[in-house]
Subunit: 294 residues, 2 copies
Amino acid sequence: MQQKLNDFINENKSMIQEEMKTHMHNLDIPVRLKKSMLYSIEAGGKRLRPILLLAGFKAYGTNIKKVLSTAIALEMIHTYSLVHDDLPAMDDDDLRRGQPTNHKVFDDATAILAGDALLTYSFELITNDPYLSDTQKVYIIKLLTEASGPKGMVAGQILDMEAEKKEINLQELETIHTLKTGELLRFAIRSGAYIGEATNAQVEYLDEFAYYLGLIFQVQDDILDVTGDPDKIGKPVGSDEVNQKNTYPKLLGLDGAIEKKQYYVKMAKRALENANAETSYLMLLTDYFSNRDY
Amino acid sequence: MQQKLNDFINENKSMIQEEMKTHMHNLDIPVRLKKSMLYSIEAGGKRLRPILLLAGFKAYGTNIKKVLSTAIALEMIHTYSLVHDDLPAMDDDDLRRGQPTNHKVFDDATAILAGDALLTYSFELITNDPYLSDTQKVYIIKLLTEASGPKGMVAGQILDMEAEKKEINLQELETIHTLKTGELLRFAIRSGAYIGEATNAQVEYLDEFAYYLGLIFQVQDDILDVTGDPDKIGKPVGSDEVNQKNTYPKLLGLDGAIEKKQYYVKMAKRALENANAETSYLMLLTDYFSNRDY
């Protein structure tokens, strides 16, 4: 089963990356802007969001071409959020995945504009998709704006900034994560299933699944900052404690955090079973999210 | 005729502003994010873009409700671009229209996020419009992403930044303006006419009109920086010369710039006549753009 998942991830990762590059290379735009957008797109990453989208689709649909533009649009929005997050005015990070951040290679102004361009272009991509109906395009753009805009990811970023200066409780911590990270993961699964023509009831159960998957992702992130291998995760461990970040281990202790994660895994799998998607890659991805070491 | 235009502008300006505020106040998002978005939305401005959109629509259509969301989305995108443009990493402006810029009132991080949120929310608004068909929504979002993204406004901003350090010729200057300012004006007129169900041929002529209108707007901007009244334009005159900006008066002399503007006015009006929109507010707006003193 592990091999099956690895093959699925590796094949789709390559496909997503090729598709993104092709789209970008075909764009007739100023050289510096293109270089800056491409730099962050090619900087790698696990491509978890488009892979989740493909897995959500595969649980019900077959023709993978139907989800490619949406998957790429999603990854571009994730990429834009990282480019803006790394800016000196935000997290002020010089490195991401071991490479200099966008504004370090270009400059702050170019990084701001490249982020704006990636965000805007992601919606353009969906409007031009030849495999989706207009009704599907409108619904997907609506879901994506809700997930990434002021009600979703951007709300999470503002709340996260505000929480840095104070103590928060577990419920507040989960709200921040659900908005900042969870909403895009939720979009991935929801839009994949929708394009795969899952029933409304199935989409609702997958929505519940996605909620828990987002939390699993975050608890594991926090756990890795305590117990992870710095070489594998690509950054020093213990930085959350130094930065006095609100994390699961801080609020619950390390054992409490692991216990919480196991509870979320149980809830996620139960929702999957209800969604009649239990034979899909989503089940394998749940354990992958829970056990990842980077 | 002047009174007719003034009434049109004032009535629609108020309506647009009320609509924008209502939409924003109804948004259930973090307080700080909402305050920052509202601050820049309420900061005023001429609302030229939504007014042009309404005028483009009025040349063919009647039920104004059909264009309200699109007009507001357009103004929100214009607003986001100003918020990001004013950032220290970009133009580093402390004042806009005599008031402190967004990042001065809040902070750089909040201004970046408020801009991102305005951009994303503008597309969400269009997906939720109850008066447009899905086909219309997809086409409008496509036009708006093209006008504001890496092929349009953002391309213009990058090229403008690069041109600051060198001498450019008239053609290069016009390319920058067409992308940076013209594309959104073009979207205003084109989408208004499209929703008003103008024929394809009429839309093409209006497109030509919009191209010249954008240039008229820019030449007059440059002229006002030489001959304008600082109290009216809200900033000191002569700043373009001090900043060694590439402008029409610099490349053509003041008389040459005025002559060029008159040529553009002639071309704009000819296109309008071809579009069978000669009785519309667009004709009046052409003179208004050409003769404005602020």
